[in-house]
Symmetry: C2
Subunit: 320 residues, 2 copies
């Protein structure tokens, strides 16, 4: 069975993993630990736990449990002091307290949810994501970066503080992978933060696995405004240290003009500007329907389709 | 397989159920729904859910899941807005919201915890337990009753408001039981509230099952001060409408003088004053060690022993 390692965090990872779950592959999700917004941020601040939100999404994506249990994980309390907390976040935080280890908590939650494969936090140290803009403003935390409209005017650096040790299992997974999938996902908030962890870029460069980069569908206004595929590739390559990718998967389908207009304020569709044999141009667009997963609704309606994404990835796996 | 129905709620039920779980019997726990203190009270008030606390304890008692999962259910968050909430209560409340039904929530939680038998809330309606004292003071809610020091001066009535319909499954279970176990447990806060639900007393009187009354070990100061076995029996009989019991199980062992002295403020040991062939006098005392279950620590250290209690109950079951 081929070993497929998916690196990301949040909704982008969710979509890819949910699609790949149906296939006969050995799946590992490596998850960014920079989240500090919403329910996750409150739990970090009040309980001193590691951020559960992105891990929760990956666990749900890989879960073979009942629909009810998956809904439960994403259920958000509506009232009182619990208001806004997702149940799955509380589960992971309570498990971290009971087991004394976030890794163990993720493993136990994985058993409860009958997940296919495994979910690994990229680091098990408390870190904050920070960014210094060209105007010298420092963005403190993933949430502030996520909300910033000034990143496209240039930034000096993005880093994790304190500089974290990698989870050793992550290095092992990258080393023994047959295929490594990077993206899609929040560019400065999920995809790049994984690469910022000590040892990850090095492991990626050394790994014999084939590597596929899945470009985001949409630019994010104020962040990646005007980016084309070459910009994404160049920027991630600068963090990895060399261009490691064997395949670059890019969406070639167009959403309706209505929808593009509706989302014009959030950002525009990413265009391909590379003429390169590594480029795979395919229809990757998901249906534009509302989902019961609140996170998906809030963050993006023009999004990748789980099945189409997985089909394209599996074409490569079958070829290995 | 003999059908054993245990009626109570809270810690008393927990001890009996945990012991009976090891035996080859068809177990049902019927649980009082009057709790409104602590984490349970906050969830009732803020989320409008039914009280999860006593149900949680019964689920844990009957669980065949890992020790970790059972610890998780009883884990209480320590800080922030979540402080004081037990994880199991949050699980039941979230499941109630996701499924739209408390009964369904209890059933699903039972599956997650691999419970032996079943746990049934005595009613699925929102009720408050109230008590009118002889001095005309009205105690509003289970918590106020639990904390009152004036009940032993006499009360006019104890009732649930609004007068609740019984959970129909409860009547079925009582009807088809081979043995019904009532007690031990909080006298005015767990044991009697079950009998106050419309139809329960009637079903108990009609049931062909053998009935065993397990007398509490300790009186509760300000509540059952000076009670002997005859007082307990007389009072519960007044709510059931007739003396239905075939066996009355009473502790015959004495804790150390040290411990009795230490707990003198809480109450004194219950003495038997009945000369009746239904009385079974046995050593039912548990070890006086600290338990990791916070609820047990807080409420009582002189308590029944799960194994001894179950052994005595099983002697009767084997005789049926």
């Amino acid at each position: 069975m081929k070993k497929v390692v998916v690196i990301g965090g949040g909704t982008g990872n969710f979509v890819a993993l949910r699609g790949l779950k149906r296939y006969d592959v050995d799946l590992t999700a490596i998850v960014s630990m920079a989240d500090d917004g919403g329910s996750t941020g409150i739990l970090r601040d009040e309980l001193g736990v590691l951020p559960p939100g992105d891990v929760r999404q990956c666990l749900v994506a890989l879960s073979n449990s009942s629909r009810l249990l998956r809904s439960l994980m994403n259920y958000r309390f509506e009232n009182g002091n619990l208001g806004g907390h997702s149940f799955g976040n509380l589960l992971l935080s309570a498990l971290e307290k009971v087991t004394g280890s976030f890794e163990k908590a993720v493993e136990e939650a994985g058993k409860l949810l009958f997940i296919k494969g495994k979910v690994l936090p990229v680091t098990v140290h408390q870190v904050r994501l920070k960014m210094i803009l060209n105007n010298r403003k420092i963005l403190e935390g993933e949430k502030e970066i996520y909300l910033s409209q000034d990143i496209d005017k240039g930034y000096k650096s993005i880093y994790l503080e304190p500089y974290p040790k990698v989870n050793p299992s992550v290095i092992e997974e990258i080393k023994h992978a047959d295929l490594i999938v990077i993206g899609p996902g929040g560019w400065y908030t999920s995809v790049i933060p994984n690469i910022l962890v000590d040892g990850v870029a090095d492991a990626l460069r050394k790994s014999q696995a084939k590597k596929i980069f899945i470009n985001n569908l949409m630019n994010r206004r104020g962040q990646t405004t005007g980016f084309k595929v070459s910009h994404y590739l160049k920027e991630i390559t600068s963090y990895i240290g060399e261009d490691i990718f064997d395949y670059i998967l890019v969406n070639g389908a167009k959403p309706s003009e209505d929808l593009i207009e509706k989302y014009a304020e959030e950002g525009e569709l990413v265009e391909n500007n590379i003429d390169d044999e590594r480029i795979i141009l395919a229809d990757l667009l998901g249906p534009m329907i509302l989902s019961s997963n609140h996170d998906l609704i809030r963050r993006n309606l023009i999004r990748h389709d789980s099945k189409k994404l997985a089909q394209e990835i599996m074409k490569i796996v079958d070829y290995l």
